[in-house]
Amino acid sequence: MDPNATSRRTFLGLVGSGALAAGLAACGSSGPTSTPGSTTGGGAPAGSGASYWFLTGQPQQGIREAQVKRFNDANSSTKLKTTEFQNDAFKQKIKTAIGAGQGPTLIWGWGGGGLKAYVEAGQVEDLTGWLGQNATLKNSIFPSAFTAATVNGKIYAVPGETVTPIVLFYDKRAFEKIGAQPPKSWGDILDLVPKFNAKGIAPFSLGGQSRWTNMMWLEFLFDRIGGSEVFQNIYDGKKDGWSDPSAIKALEEMQKLIKANGFIKGFSSITADSNADQALLFTGKAAMMLHGAWTYGNMKSSGGDFVTGGHLGYMNFPPVDGGKGDPTDTVGNPGQYMSISSKASQADKDTAKKFIANNTLDDATVEAWVKSGNIPVVKSAKDKLSSITDKNDSEWLNFVYDTAANAKNFAQSWDQALSPTQAETLLDNIAKLFQLSISPQQFATNMNAVIGK
């Protein structure tokens, strides 16, 4: 007797009947139909109170912790429970938790396309009416910050935290070493690359594994070469928006810089979450870095005398010769956003609203943001700037404030503005573009395929 033969027969027979069973199940009504989590009452298990997840990373983390502490000290019966995540982990976890109907009461996010997906799935509260009742809170915030919080004319999130444009940072010492001036145009940047490489300094630091870091480059090149409408068309779902001649030129210029070894060796295995990209700048291994304004605080605290010794320089991204974009334009995060889970119990929703109203943009918070080198999203931020005594901090804050306030157009980061489906495809293709494994044309074709999805 050969046991193998018999078991192979039963094995094959089973695969057949398995497929049959699947067919029957698909015809029946046993397929999943109801909304996941629609039956679960509260966000977190009932009776555990309101919950709040936010990101780690100093100095932001400390400020968020302090907000919660103040709230909990004042409201000992309705405390907020917090969980802290690192950026990448947060992005992974928040979706599965919300999908399971067990998201936190307070949903921290970046607004835009991600928020829209929550709205369409009925996962977050409409806060338009509540903000109407809390006019003082609403009017204290920069009006422009509400754009990314609005879906179909209704407000689903309250802007909070900070205005963080993307800034071109540089190490003044590195420029002294090669005896050159900071770049005033895209052409200057390309000229600087071989000079730095010859001195053994990487021209630009980049945490390429995070992918959104690479994206910041494209955001500026698209804008400087073709103006703000190039991305606006894509955002509005215009057919073949990515094939705009300016877009293709921007992609070509990008690859030109990569081919010229403009970025640090091994950039695609460096993550921004670990701040290793910042470390490369302040340890002198790289001369420049394009990054969010939020990195200033960490470079000041971890970078030795890099900031305090006045070695850090910064500027808005320089213009491209012959480009159509307004040189004052900037990109980045017009704020961070807090939504309230529609799956939470009424009591927890009220707790969360109270926290937003009393503790997210209170005086103590605004003070703390400014002290840490950030511009909070409130109109009163300007008045706080004069109270800063540290020369470096004061210069920096005024620069950030002016960059944000004087920008003819302040575009939201692409991966936040677009839908999650488009954003993920975009990040994937950006990684390939930086790997030089696809051409600008292929990039445009791949991206056009998901426009409007």
Partner: protein, 277 residues
């Protein structure tokens, strides 16, 4: 002499053997040495040098970040998976062998065989949906139940192979003495398949202990984290602090290494018994 005959390719094999040892040990040595360095020493010292000023701060940092809690979760999930999984697989294997000829049992056996070829990863989306529907999301039970299910196919197969080897005459003589099937299973099959039970427990246990995808998708609260997931989040928090990250690697692996050191013999013979008989 049997031994001498077995030493095929002696010098070549020996060379490969020692070379492989180096490949295995160098990274392990580096992990341990680095975990006792402080961050500045890590950037300045030769990576293979012993720490000039050994410090246990990294370990302190890791243990203070709720390590005991994650350790306990991993223990609960592993034990909670393996004990029931091995018990029910043993019963099923016994039934399949003793009930040879039954079409139903042959079908069940075929189903389990098919299960061998199905990677758990491929079913994660429906499992996620199922766990949500069962209201088990973010509980340790959410990790245990699918883990049990995916431990069954291999366990049944290995155990059935062992039970098959029990001489039929023994069963016959016990039945003549009036023993029930349950009695025979306990008194005859169980003691004779002990090595196989160890094998499947270890094999599945390692898989569950080190599992990453299920905790990633099916849990969210920090107090439900298992070690591999904790390691990942810890790496995110401290990734510039390589020594601290490596200390967490050492701590998450240490319990298994101790267990291995204690029960090495059984482990080595057990682990492969089911595969190379």
């Amino acid at each position: 002499m049997r031994v001498r005959k077995l030493l095929q390719l002696n010098w070549f094999g020996g060379l490969a053997g020692w070379a492989w040892l180096a490949i295995v040990l160098i990274p392990l040595y580096w992990i341990v040495v680095t975990s006792f360095k402080d961050q500045s020493a890590y950037f300045t010292q030769n990576p293979f040098a012993l720490p000039s000023a050994p410090t246990a701060n990294n370990y302190q940092l890791v243990i203070q970040s709720d390590f005991p809690r994650y350790f306990l979760n991993s223990v609960i999930v592993t034990a909670g998976t393996i004990i029931p999984a091995v018990a029910i697989s043993f019963m099923a294997a016994y039934a399949i062998i003793r009930g040879a000829g039954s079409r139903f049992l042959a079908g069940v056996n075929g189903l389990f065989l098919m299960g061998l070829a199905i990677p758990l990863q491929a079913t994660i989306i429906p499992v996620y949906l199922l766990i949500i529907k069962m209201r088990l999301y973010d509980s340790l039970l959410a990790l245990i139940l699918p883990s049990i299910a995916f431990s069954i196919p291999l366990s049944v197969l290995v155990l059935a192979n062992f039970i098959r080897d029990v001489p039929k005459e023994l069963f016959e003589s016990m039945r003549v003495d009036g023993a029930t099937e349950w009695g025979m299973m306990r008194k005859l099959a169980l003691p004779l398949t002990r090595p196989a039970l160890v094998t499947v427990s270890i094999y599945n246990g390692l898989g569950v202990w080190n599992g990453f995808l299920l905790p990633l998708i099916l849990t969210q609260s920090p107090d439900k984290r298992t070690l591999p997931l904790a390691l990942w989040t810890f790496q995110g928090q401290y990734s510039v602090n390589v020594p601290a990250v490596l200390a967490s690697v050492v701590l998450t692996t240490l319990p298994i290494v101790i267990l291995y050191a204690v029960s090495r013999r059984q482990l080595l013979s057990g682990l492969t018994a089911g595969f190379s008989r």
